[in-house]
């Protein structure tokens, strides 16, 4: 794979060319006072001046509502229709952050371990991630505390680092998919030579050690810290839904008389109903127990399985939280807890 050096004009042209070719491009656009990913439509301008999109790009591979199959009743008989996986279109995620791209691997891990989820796999195989390194960050960012980097290449097909001196961009072509895209749109681009990528990246401070957090979490199940930290938590699903790693879902029925569809939709361990039995018994009856689950799952259970935290430090949950349940602040407190 190769590294290219393109001018700002070539970068703009690349996007313009893809749009002109009618590619499905999912990119950050300013909407309603926030910047968030959307499929580019005519007249949309890709956002420039922002640190992080409101949501991650995960809904390209894990949509908010996914039809798993449909059915039709004929008297006592049922006819089930598998929607198949040939209905998906190629999609380019443009300007994902390295933390988003990195999260995709963990999302994929969930849907491919033990049982291959063909719907997910098909969506993923149709997705190409063109990530952009972060030149800036804010107080919610903490990728470097969880093993990431503002210029990390993991999970991206292409990583673009715009050079802060205005001298164009470094394009790292990382996968065969990325090569395909580069061959088509960046043919003739100059080979990158002697670019110090690091100099153009945001300075994301290390706030805590994920290993230390993990060590502290062992045996912290009964700690009063959960009650203390979760007291102001309102129990909404904003943190989980904007998270690039969270994948918990619900399966629901869309019934219309004799016809219907079974649908997979997002769910969150922060909702009180998530674990509640029909009998009313709830294994996690308090917000403190649910907050504990969120933290333990991401920083103890997932690391045990994957060797890395179930969090890429994108900071979206902290930005989205209506009551400032700032995750890095809480993790810092846990790491420093006696």
């Amino acid at each position: 794979m190769e590294n290219l050096h393109i001018t700002n004009g070539q970068l703009a042209q690349w996007l313009d060319d893809m749009r002109r070719d009618g590619l499905r491009i999912f990119a950050p656009v300013a909407q309603g006072g926030k910047t968030d990913f959307k499929f580019l439509a005519e007249g949309d301008t890709v956002a420039e001046d922002y640190v992080q999109t409101a949501q991650s790009a995960k809904r390209i591979v894990l949509p908010m509502a996914e039809v798993l199959f449909s059915y039709r009743k004929h008297g006592k008989d049922i006819e089930v229709a598998n929607p198949g996986t040939d209905r998906f279109n190629d999609t380019i995620i443009w300007k994902a952050r390295p933390c988003d791209a990195r999260a995709m691997r963990q999302v994929a891990e969930v849907f491919t371990r033990d049982y291959d989820d063909a719907i997910f796999e098909a969506r993923r195989s149709h997705t190409t991630i063109v990530a952009f390194s972060c030149n800036t960050c804010d107080d919610c960012c903490f990728c470097t505390s969880v093993g990431g980097s503002p210029g990390g290449t993991e999970g991206s097909d292409i990583l673009v680092t715009t050079l802060t001196d205005g001298g164009g961009a470094l394009v790292e072509v990382l996968t065969p998919k990325g090569e395909g895209l580069a061959a088509k749109y960046l043919a003739g681009a100059a080979r990158a030579d002697g670019i110090d990528k690091q100099a153009h990246l945001a300075d994301v401070r290390v706030l805590f050690s994920a290993d230390e957090v993990r060590a502290k979490l062992d045996g912290a199940f009964d700690s009063p810290v959960w009650q203390e930290q979760s007291e102001r938590c309102l129990g909404c699903g904003a943190c989980a839904f904007v998270c690039p790693v969270c994948t918990c879902f619900d399966i629901q029925e869309d019934a219309h008389g004799a016809r219907g569809r079974r649908i997979r939709c997002w769910d969150s361990c922060g909702f009180s109903m998530f674990t509640q039995h029909t009998s009313g018994h709830n294994p996690r009856p308090t917000q403190a127990a649910r907050w504990r689950q969120r933290i333990l799952h991401k920083f103890s259970y997932i690391p045990e399985k994957l060797g890395e935290a179930g969090c890429t430090g994108c900071g979206r949950c902290s930005r989205a939280c209506p009551v400032d349940m700032n995750i890095s602040e809480h993790l810092k407190a846990i790491a420093g807890h006696e």
């Binding site: 798993l68 199959f69 059915y71 009743k73 006592k76 008989d77 049922i78 089930v80 598998n82 996986t85 969930v110 849907f111 371990r113 033990d114 049982y115 291959d116 989820d117 063909a118 719907i119 796999e121 195989s125 199940f221 994948t247 918990c248 879902f249 619900d250 399966i251 629901q252 029925e253 019934a255 219907g260 079974r262 997979r264 769910d267 361990c269 998530f274 674990t275 509640q276 039995h277 029909t278 009998s279 018994h281 294994p283 996690r284 127990a289 689950q293 333990l296 799952h297 103890s300 259970y301 045990e304 399985k305």
Partner: protein
Amino acid sequence: MSNKNIYLPYLMRIEKITDEAPGVKTFRLAFEDKAEGEAFNFRAGQFAEYSAFGEGECTFCIASPPTRRGYVECTFRRAGRVTTGLAKLEEGDTMGFRGPFGNSFPIEQWQGKNLLFVAGGIALPPMRCVIENALDMREKFKDITIIYGAKSVGDLVYKEKLKEWEARPDVNMVTTVDPGGETPDWKGKVGFTPTVLEQVAPSSDNTVAVVCGPPVMIKFSFPVLEKLGFKDTDIYTTLENRMKCGLGKCGRCNVGKMYVCKDGPVFTKAQLNGLPPEY
């Protein structure tokens, strides 16, 4: 990459419906596609997702034993949306079935041992599978004791099975109902299941205990077993966390480092000791 849609259920024909107790039914299900039925295998303790089309999916164990082929049975109590939908179905109707999922009872490892089954209420179905599995290979085990309790005589499920097991000379069958739940002609015991377990006092020597029931019954049965000398590694139970996918993906049944749907539902007490009490 497999093209199989893991959320797609088998279509099953309801062959027979048995009313077990108020609100409790047993369905005998046959695979609509005979080839699928013949290829289908499972182990005692595994569970499945049962679909009422139009309502959704619901999780329960496979109640019939793997040694009786050609059909599967499930027993459920009408409680929420899906079980209410299932309860409305009639013989000959079609429903969905996804499974088998989860681990199972290590019944092969129990050969040569005494077996003690302690069940409460609607938790006899998960136990029935392993009981019948054991009875179908009776000679492999030593004494078999079954202690089954329910709130009232009316709430006892599998009344025919209970009679059958009671009649067997090679099964020590003890049936009990909670105080106040007895009828004038009730011949079994009266008392809460853990209390009756203490009275029956089965020997823990070379014995495996399987306990299934409501959380409160399990909570009070464990100390009795401990008193009787059972080791935590010889006490088995099944967890019934809420589930949706059954595939270890939806996250709902995650308890500690385990997914009940994948690493369970069968756990030894020793394993439970290492899990957070979130079940």
